[in-house]
C-alpha cells in the first residue's frame, strides 16, 4: 500500500485557484521536497496536509485512510514552520515536552523522551533556556525536536531555514539530513531554494502556478526537465529562439537564425513543423573554441561580452548571433579561456542529445 497519497487536490480562494490537479505519492521514509517560487501552491498543499486549510476538491490518504475529516490536532503530524514558533513562555525542555504532556504521557517517559530529542538535535544542556535566549538556528532545531518528539509518521517543513544566513543554513541542512537518516521519518519539505532542494531531497516536486510540473530525483529534473519552467528553476540554463523543422519520437530538428540546422534534439511539448520553440543550453555543458568553426552541426557563433573569474570556474558571458545572452562555465586553466578578451568571436559547441527544445 502507498504510504501517503495526494489525490486530485484543488484549492480555490474565491475566484483564485491556488492549486489544482495535485497528484502525488510518497513512500515511507522518503524525503520529498516541494520546490517552486512564492505563490506556486507548494505551501498551500502543505497547509492542506497539516489541516489548516480544507481542499476544495481532492483527498489525502495516509496508509489508505483519508485525513481530510480529521482535525489538525488529531492528525499526529509534525511541522516546523518558517517563522520561529517556540512557545515563548516555556523553556526549551518544556517546549519539547508540550506535545507529550498534551498526550498525558507519564512524567518519567516525558523526561526520557525530552532528553533523547535534545540529544538528537545536539542541544543537550539547553533544556532550561528560554527561546528568547537562543539563536535562530538553535530555535529551529528545538522546533524540530518538538515536532519529532511524538514520533509522527510525517514531518512537514515549511521553509524552516529561510530566516537564517547562508552558512548557518548549510549547517542545519546537514543536521536535517542526519536526523532524517537517524529517525527514518517521512519528510515533506517546502522551499524556493533549488540548491537546498537538491541537497536534501530524495525526490522533488516542482510547483509552478498551482500545478506540479514534474516530480523526480534531482538528477532526473536536471537531465530531463519536462517543461521550460523546470529547466529554468533547476540548474542554470539559457534559451535560444529557434524554429521546429520536423519532430517525431520525442526528437526534433530545429533551425536557428538564418542558416544553422541542428538535428535530433530531445523535444518537450507539442509543436508543428515551422512552429516557434526555445533551445535550452546549460552553461556547464557548452564547450568553447576560439574563432568560428564554420557551419558545424551543433556550434553556435557568439561574441564574448564579459569574463568573470570565480575561483575554480571561469564564467564567460557571450551574445549569440541571434542576440540571446548565453553563459559558459569553464574550469580554471581552460586553454581557450586563458587569452580570451571581450569582443572575441567564439564558437560554442554542444551535444544535441543533451540539449532540450521546448515549444513556445
Amino acid at each position: 500500500m502507498t504510504f501517503l497519497q495526494i489525490r486530485g487536490l484543488r484549492k480555490d480562494y474565491g475566484i483564485v485557484t491556488a492549486v489544482r490537479d495535485v497528484n502525488l505519492t510518497v513512500e515511507r521514509g522518503e524525503f520529498m521536497t516541494f520546490l517552486g517560487p512564492s505563490g506556486s501552491g507548494k505551501s498551500t498543499t502543505l497547509y492542506i496536509l497539516a489541516g489548516f486549510e480544507n481542499p476544495t476538491v481532492g483527498d489525502i490518504l495516509l496508509n489508505g485512510d483519508s485525513l481530510i475529516a480529521t482535525p489538525s490536532h488529531k492528525r499526529n503530524i509534525g511541522m516546523v514552520f518558517q517563522r520561529y514558533t517556540l512557545f515563548p513562555h516555556l523553556s526549551v525542555g518544556e517546549n519539547i515536552a508540550f506535545p507529550l504532556k498534551v498526550r498525558r504521557l507519564p512524567k518519567a517517559e516525558i523526561d526520557a523522551k525530552v532528553a533523547k530529542m535534545l540529544k538528537l538535535v545536539r542541544l543537550e544542556g539547553f533544556e532550561d533556556r528560554k527561546p528568547a535566549q537562543m539563536s535562530g538556528g538553535q530555535q529551529q532545531r528545538v522546533a524540530l525536536a518538538r515536532a519529532l518528539a511524538y514520533d509522527p509518521p510525517v514531518l512537514l517543513m515549511d521553509e524552516p531555514l529561510s530566516a537564517l544566513d547562508k552558512k548557518l543554513r548549510e549547517e542545519i541542512q546537514h543536521e536535517i539530513r542526519r536526523i532524517h537518516q537517524e529517525t527514518e521519518v517521512t519528510i515533506l519539505y517546502v522551499t524556493h531554494d533549488q540548491e537546498e532542494a537538491l541537497r536534501l531531497s530524495d525526490r522533488i516536486a516542482v510547483f509552478s502556478r498551482g500545478v506540479i510540473d514534474q516530480i523526480g530525483t534531482g538528477p532526473e529534473l536536471y537531465a530531463n526537465p519536462a517543461t521550460r519552467f523546470v529547466a529554468e528553476f533547476v540548474g542554470d540554463s539559457d534559451f535560444v529562439d529557434c524554429r521546429v523543422l520536423s519532430a517525431q519520437n520525442g526528437r526534433a530538428d530545429i533551425a536557428i537564425g538564418s542558416g544553422l540546422t541542428i538535428r535530433g534534439v530531445p523535444m518537450h511539448g507539442r509543436a508543428a513543423a515551422g512552429g516557434a520553440a526555445a533551445l535550452m543550453l546549460r552553461p556547464e555543458r557548452l564547450s568553447l573554441a576560439r574563432g568560428s568553426v564554420g557551419q558545424g552541426s551543433a556550434n553556435l557563433a557568439a561574441t564574448v561580452t564579459d569574463i568573470t573569474f570565480l575561483g575554480s570556474n571561469i564564467h564567460v558571458a557571450a551574445a549569440a548571433e541571434t542576440g540571446e545572452a548565453l553563459s559558459v562555465r569553464l574550469p580554471f586553466g581552460h586553454e581557450a579561456a586563458s587569452s580570451l578578451s571581450r569582443g572575441d568571436t567564439v564558437s560554442l559547441g554542444f551535444d544535441p542529445a543533451s540539449a532540450h527544445v521546448f515549444s513556445a
Partner: protein, 266 residues
Amino acid sequence: MLLNFDRLGAWKWILLGITGLTAAFLILPILFIAALSFGSSQWLIFPPPGWTLKWYAMFFADPRWLEAAGTSFYIAAIVTVLSVLLGLVASFGLVRGRFIGKEGLRALFLTPMILPVVVLAVALYAFFLRIGLNGTVTGFVIAHLVVALPFSILSITNALEGFDKSIEDAAVLCGASPLEAKLRVTLPSISHGLFSAAVFSFLTSWDEVVLAIFMASPTLQTLPVKIWATLRQDLTPVIAAASTLLIVITIALMLLVALLRKGLKS
C-alpha cells in the same frame, strides 16, 4: 541621534527648565493635596502649620468612608474581571476574524474613549431609570464597563496582533485542541496585554466620578462620590486624606505595570 543633548550648550539648560516646569505643573497639585492631608490645620491652610495623622485616623474610624472605599473596590474588581473577559473575546474577533465592517466595529468599540462622559452618564441614567438599575451595583458595573472596555480592547488587541498565529498553529499540530492551544500557549504569551487591560480597567472604575455620581444612591456610594458629596457639605482635611489614599493606590498599580513591563523586556 539627530539632536545631541550634550552639545546643545545653553539650550540644554533651557530644555531642562521647561521639562522641570512641566513636571511640576503635573505633580504639584497631587503633592499639595498629600501635604494638606498630613497638615494639622482644619481649614486646609497651606503651608501646614504642623503635621498630624489625625485625618487618616478619622478616615479609618468612620464606617461611611470605609464603606465607600469598599464599594469602590468591589465594583472595580467586578468591572476588571468582566472587562478583561469581554475584551479578550472581542479582541480575538477583531484581530483574527475575517468579516466586512471589522474596522468600523473596532472604531465603534473605542468610541466611549472620546464620547463626553457626561453625555454617556445622562443617557445611561435615563435608560436605567426605566429598568430600575440606578443605585444598584449592576448599574455601576455596566456604566463603568462601558468606559473601561475600550482600554481593555486596546491593550489586548495590541498584544494579540504582536503574537504570531503560527505559534498557536504549532501547538495545535502538537496535539492540543484549538481551545487548549489558546489557553496553554496564546493566553500566557499575551499575559502582559491581559495584565495591562486589568489594571487600566480597574483604575478606570476606581477613580471614575461622573458616571458614579449619576449611578449613586444615598446607600451606595463609591469613594470618589463620597469625596465629592463631602466636599459640598463641609470642607474637612479627611477629603485630602481620602484623595491621597485614592492616588496612592493608583500610583502603586501604575508602578506595578511599569515594573512588569521592565521585567518582560529583560
